[in-house]
Symmetry: C2
Subunit: 133 residues, 2 copies
């Protein structure tokens, strides 16, 4: 690569890089993501210690290599409406590139360790798996 | 800016730019997002026409200015497990910067028009609102 080409490459990379900052709307993405949303109801919902343990366990999941995006959540203080289920205690939202990535996550030793360490904390789990239209 | 400094600036920009491509993990973000996930069960789940109408209605929501990210989904073909609820027909996942952004979305005429045009299509809706820990 000559000096001019190298410079052009650097500038193009900079421009491309800046481009990724702009439109965050996922509809702009071509890729159909797999979205895995898990809601946990604690056995002892009043225990701040159990809540902290579950969150700490969920934090370990971010080391699983097929996860493209992770959000660990608590019920948000939005308006109370009959359709809003704010009874859960913790949520985990994961994005994968494809079904294979989700399967690798399920079987990953980090995920298995999380279940072994934390499943005694929850009373109920509900999972929704979606794929972009 | 001298030639060396300009070159260093370009390279740094390139490196920063490239950095935004790599770790898509939201845990790297400082901002605590509001995540609004809605699951719809159609009145006529076998009607492809009703499904298409609901999806088309949901597509209009992306014009609401406080939405930072939108995903319209269908149940993914992940493994059948007792904890996985794959009975819904369509999902809508929205990200907002804050509670105010979510409230603006709720009240936006585009959202109100979507409800007026499409609410006859669904039998049940469940909403989960979460805020990043």
């Amino acid at each position: 690569m000559g000096k001019q080409n190298r410079r052009a490459f650097i500038i193009n990379t900079a421009v491309l890089g800046a481009g990724t900052l702009a439109p965050r709307l996922a509809t702009a993405d071509k890729k159909k993501m797999i979205i895995h949303h898990v809601f946990f109801w604690l056995k002892n919902p009043s225990s701040k210690e159990d809540l902290a343990k579950l969150i700490a366990g969920l934090q370990t999941l971010k080391n699983i290599k097929t996860i493209r995006r992770i959000h660990i959540g608590l019920p948000a203080a939005t308006e109370e409406r009959s359709v809003v289920d704010a009874s859960y205690n913790v949520s985990e939202l994961l994005f994968f590139d494809d079904l294979a990535g989700q399967k690798i996550y399920q079987d990953d030793p980090i995920h298995q360790k999380f279940i072994a360490d934390c499943s005694h904390l929850w009373d109920k789990v509900v999972v929704y798996d979606a794929v972009d239209v």
